[in-house]
């Protein structure tokens, strides 16, 4: 089981010395499958000015690489990686879908409390 604050799961992206992006994920229990876990992407962000330079991809890839390295080790209980994405955020769905092969899952209604639209999809990718 990974540590609670595993630095491989949360990372900053630096550009010329300044933090311009970050990813933060955690390993959590998979409610659908007793005793098994999943990686949940809590947040992924890149400053607007630095988008389309492959920074976000690098961040996601670094987590996926970490999984590959540890799939029989620390992360042997992890089966999938998933996240929530706002229904209107087609850029994000495109990003995860085409680049990393995430699949669109079920719709969760009223997931967000302070933003509109409040609904989201679940995106997930089977890791094994």
């Amino acid at each position: 089981m990974a540590k609670k604050h595993d630095e491989n799961l949360c990372k900053f992206a630096y550009w010329n010395g300044f933090a311009v992006g970050a990813i933060c994920t955690r390993v959590e229990a998979n409610p659908d499958c007793q005793g098994r876990n999943r990686i949940y992407i809590m947040t992924l962000g890149v400053l607007a000015a630095y988008r389309n330079h492959g920074i976000g991809s690098k961040l996601v890839a670094s987590v996926l690489d970490y999984f590959e390295a540890e799939k029989d080790g620390k992360l042997s209980t992890v089966d999938e990686i998933m996240l929530h994405v706002q229904t209107s955020n087609s850029d994000a769905m495109e990003f995860y879908g085409t680049k990393f092969g995430f699949e669109k899952g079920e719709l969760v209604e009223n997931y967000y409390k302070r933003i509109d639209p409040p609904h989201c999809y679940i995106l997930r990718k089977k890791l094994r």
């Binding site: 311009v20 630095y50 330079h53």
Partner: protein, 987 residues
């Protein structure tokens, strides 16, 4: 323990100094006492001493030793709480007193013991009364003239006190007693040297070397000590006037000898760079430029390519500059300055330098034709840029060589900026600002007249042209290079933001950070030109673009501060600090801005993040001699009118400098033992100039101002925002006094609970804060609460004029080229009624800067005081009446002021402080009406020099003092200020 012999001891009264030594057993104990003292085992020492005293209560030497130990114990226990804080309580004070009494008693018992006198001297030394200590040592030596320990101690004190003659005598005695010791030879040589007898010092060193056995001695082998000694001797040689039989008309004989000596010692020397630098300096002074060039190339190849001093020397060699200019370049150039930024170059000079610094091919072809003499030398034919392609300094220097109006210059600076912007170099703006050079005629002789040979140079009044840096926004705005850079950066910005490329068909796509840094640079350019609002709107774009870069918050904070909104400046830099709590630099910046914003509590919390955790942060900062913090804090208290606390902090800084001075004690022995004699000489020089350093000056000047303020306002509870009460007009003063009176009333009410009259101004809230503070740090207690801290109050009840006089005297002695020092000397002298001293200060000011506003206002003041003066010596009257008119251009006061009015009007840029000074003088000399006076200020349209928020506030204050007559102009002035400083809400 000592029962056995007690029956015989009662009346013996042994006193070692009187030929009645202690019995064997006690004598052994007594040796132990000394041993324990020296190894700092004070408790054991004390025990042994007490054992002896039990039997011989009047034994002088033991009493003295006991006193010494008690004193040492008292001193070590207050190490953490410096003496000026009241010795951390009375206990240590009592102990000290006890120590003094013990030693005195011991000395009375046995006046003929050298030990007693020695101890008496040591005691004085530990309380830093060196003059008394030297006297005591001399007594001790009268009894035991060959006591090495005492001689050594005395020598230390003498060099510390700069009793150079005495020092030399003492060291000679030591050397005569122990001629076998190297240290004694070296110290004696040094003592002769510092007495100005370079030749004698060389003689001593030679005699020492002659005592050595050539074959075996390490002195003749290559190692650090022999190397340092050889280089030291070389340095001393260069200071001699040379051999008498040498052809020495030019006074450079010493240099020639030293240059030849360098070759002799080459095998010994390990400090190759030092050796080469010495050689270079000699060669330049002797005008041997070709060999100097070879030396320079050796230096460059050893890795000194980034040392601008070497480049300055190279330019001198290339241009065959005269020795005076060479010396000026070698001695005074700092940072990125070289000959090219010292003075304008002639066309042919420029051509030579450009060839030398350019790239390969051009230099090679040109040289081959016309410079055949170079064929044999080892100097490469290519330009430096080709030989050292990686050197940043060489590229940077190349910029300073090109004619600024040329296309080459434009493209060079274009390339330079582009590269740095792509890299993201935050300091690019300030780097470029050192290119804004302005020519200035200097009437003074080239200041070399004092230098080594003592030959003052002939040309006493020739005008030389020197570059000075444009610093005022007005001058920068109009500077050609500034405009060029602005034009370039604007073109970058438009091209980068539309196409992510640099302009002019550049096809390379750049990352987003390039545009960001172009914006940032543009913002710093706005800052330099005093365009704060534009600067802020750009830096806001940067922050929006990349909110994670703390440089941007820092720049924004600076812009806000300059633009007049110090509170927002503090908040902004604090936001930047919040990005990275491990960044000590930004944490310190934040602290500084917070203090300027008057938020000393926030500042304390902020800086505490980086002080040691245990104990009181302020104590820790004091121990770390954190001068900048204490100065800012003192300024903060001063602005709040809390003069006691403020003085306290300024005095803390002054104490640090005293400590720096004290610290040299440790080096007198150490440096010689380690044979770092060259560094030691530098240290002695540094310590001599210590009081002339800028931070000391800042503290001392404020101390003087506060004391003068208190002289002018003897009623202690009176408080206003600025201590420079003295400069106010009568109307202002009256108003300020009214305010003060009100405050006093208010304070009286508050004082009922707090007992302090000084903090009344800030009302209840401050007393809460103070109470809180006093809980944690009694030792470092603040001076304001009368009952709790008598020390602090002491600062406020000192003889103010005396204190001010003391510091002014130090400043004018050690910083005689600083105009503010002489201004204060004037202020002090005039209050002391010393008209001649005041007059002297005026003349000194005039020689530094003949039309400074500080000078003008003081001349007017002097003239007014002169007319109302009562009595003076006839002789000084005579001097004043013949000399003073020279300062007034032999005019009456009214004419003099009118002349100044015309001058101020004639120059649209004449500085705002000067305009204020002249305007004030118009009123006091009846040379114009109030509206004329305020118009003079208004006419500047704030497009003049020295327009800052501070000077604007001062002019508003002046206009307010004019009452009705100034009202209209004041409103107009306010509009102008709001346009220029949109963030200055309080104007």
């Amino acid at each position: 323990m000592s029962n056995k012999s007690s029956s015989t001891s009662a009346n013996d009264n042994p006193q070692s100094g009187q030929g009645r030594p202690l019995p064997k057993k006690e004598s052994d104990l007594s040796k132990n006492v000394v041993k324990f003292y020296e190894s700092k085992q004070y408790k054991k020492g004390l025990k042994n001493a007490d054992t002896i005293l039990k039997r011989f209560p009047n034994h002088g030497e033991t009493l003295c030793m006991k006193g010494l130990i008690v004193n040492a114990m008292a001193t070590t226990s207050v190490v953490s709480a410096p003496k000026k804080d009241g010795g951390g309580g009375d206990r240590e004070g009592d102990k000290k007193k006890e120590a003094v009494e013990l030693v005195k008693k011991g000395l009375m018992m046995d006046m003929r013991s050298h030990v007693c006198w020695h101890v008496y001297g040591l005691l004085h030394r530990s309380s830093q009364d060196y003059a008394e200590a030297i006297k005591a040592y001399k007594q001790a030596l009268r009894i035991d003239s060959e006591n090495l320990q005492i001689l050594r101690d005395m020598g230390l004190l003498q060099i510390q006190m700069r009793d150079l003659h005495g020092f030399s005598n003492t060291r000679l005695r030591i050397l005569t007693l122990r001629p076998s010791s190297k240290v004694h030879w070296l110290t004696y040589a040094l003592s002769v040297h510092v007495n100005g007898d370079a030749k004698g010092a060389v003689g001593v060193l030679d005699s020492y070397m002659a005592t050595l056995d050539k074959e075996d001695s390490v002195e003749f082998q290559r190692n650090f000590e022999s190397s340092e000694l050889a280089l030291y001797k070389n340095q001393v040689l260069s200071e001699t006037s040379g051999d008498d039989n040498d052809n020495n008309e030019d006074g450079l004989g010493g240099i020639r000898t030293a240059l030849a000596h360098l070759d002799e010692i080459h095998e010994l020397v390990v400090d190759q760079t030092g050796w080469l630098m010495a050689r270079l300096s000699y060669q330049l002074q002797l005008g041997r430029f070709e060999s100097a060039k070879e030396t320079i190339f050796s230096l460059l190849e050893r890795g000194s390519t980034e040392d601008h001093k070497v480049h300055g020397a190279y330019m001198c060699a290339l241009l065959k500059c005269d020795p005076i200019e060479c010396k000026e370049v070698l001695d005074t150039m700092r940072g990125t300055k070289t000959l090219a930024t010292l003075r304008p170059l002639k066309e042919e000079e420029r051509a030579i330098l450009l060839r030398a610094y350019g790239s390969a091919s051009a230099a090679a072809t040109d040289d081959a034709d016309d410079d055949a003499t170079n064929g044999s030398s080892s100097i490469p034919k290519e330009g430096l840029a080709a030989i050292f392609p990686k050197s940043a300094a060489i590229k940077r220097i190349y910029l300073t060589l090109l004619p600024t109006s040329s296309d080459e210059f434009k493209s060079a600076i274009d390339e330079y900026c582009r590269r740095q912007i792509v890299k993201g170099v935050p300091s690019l703006g300030s780097d470029l600002s050192s290119l804004y050079l302005m020519e200035k005629q200097q009437k003074q002789p080239q200041q070399s007249s004092t230098t080594m040979n003592g030959n003052s140079t002939t040309s006493a009044t020739t005008t030389t042209t020197r570059y000075v840096l444009a610093k005022d926004p007005i001058d920068i705005q109009q500077h050609g290079i500034y405009r060029l850079v602005v034009e370039l950066v604007d073109s970058y910005i438009s091209s980068l933001s539309s196409a992510n490329t640099f302009p002019n068909n550049d096809t390379e796509k750049h990352p987003p950070s390039t545009l960001l840094w172009a914006w940032y640079l543009r913002s710093t350019l706005h800052e330099q030109a005093g365009q704060y609002a534009q600067g802020i709107s750009l830096i806001d774009k940067c922050i929006e673009h990349t909110p994670t870069a703390c440089d941007f918050y820092e720049l924004k904070s600076r812009l806000l501060e300059l633009g007049g909104d110090i509170q927002r400046a503090a908040d902004t830099v604090d936001a930047g600090r919040d990005l990275d709590h491990q960044d000590r630099y930004i944490n310190n910046q934040t602290t500084k801005v917070m203090l300027r914003a008057g938020r000393e509590e926030d500042a304390r919390k902020c800086i505490s993040l980086f002080t040691r955790h245990e104990g009181n942060p302020e104590q820790n900062l004091y121990d770390m001699q954190c001068t900048w913090y204490e100065l800012e804090l003192a300024d903060c208290w001063r602005k709040k009118g809390d003069l006691g606390r403020s003085l306290r902090k300024y005095m803390a800084v002054i104490k640090h400098y005293q400590d720096f001075h004290e610290d040299q004690f440790d080096f007198h022995m150490y440096c010689i033992r380690k044979v770092t004699l060259r560094s030691y000489c530098k240290l002695l020089k540094f310590e001599d100039d210590l009081w002339g350093l800028p931070h000391y000056g800042r503290a001392a000047e404020e101390v003087i101002k506060i004391h003068l303020h208190l002289v002018d306002n003897p009623d202690k509870s009176k408080e206003d925002e600025e201590p420079d009460y003295s400069k106010m007009t009568p109307a202002e003063r009256k108003k300020a006094k009214n305010i003060a009176r009100k405050k006093k009333k208010k304070a009286a009410v508050v004082a009922g609970s707090s007992g302090g009259s000084n903090n009344g101004e800030k009302g209840g809230s401050s007393t809460d804060k103070d109470a809180e503070k006093n809980n944690g740090n009694k030792k470092k207690a603040k001076p304001h609460v009368i009952d709790e801290d008598p020390e602090g109050q002491e600062l406020l009840v000192l003889d103010h004029l005396e204190e001010a006089k003391k510091f002014a005297a130090i400043l004018v002695r050690h910083a005689p080229k600083r105009i503010s020092a002489w201004a204060l000397q004037y202020d002090v002298s005039i209050r002391r009624g010393k008209m001649l001293l005041a007059l002297q200060a005026l003349f000194k000011m005039k020689s530094i800067h003949h039309n400074a506003h500080q000078l003008f206002s003081r001349i007017v003041d002097f003239s007014l005081k002169l007319s109302s003066r009562t009595t003076e010596h006839a002789a000084s009257n005579q001097v004043i009446s013949t000399e003073f008119p020279k300062l007034m251009k032999c005019k009456s006061l009214m004419e003099f002021v009118q002349l100044a009015v015309e001058d101020a009007k004639a120059d649209a840029l004449s500085s705002l402080p000067m305009r204020i000074a002249v305007a004030k003088a118009m009123l006091s000399a009846n040379a114009g009406s109030a509206s004329d006076a305020s118009s003079l200020i208004l006419d500047s349209k704030l497009n003049a020099r020295c327009v800052t928020v501070e000077t604007c506030r001062e002019s508003l204050k002046f206009m307010e003092s004019l009452g009705k007559e100034g009202a209209e102009n004041r409103e107009r002035m306010k509009m102008l200020i709001m346009a220029k400083f949109p963030f200055a809400k309080d104007c």
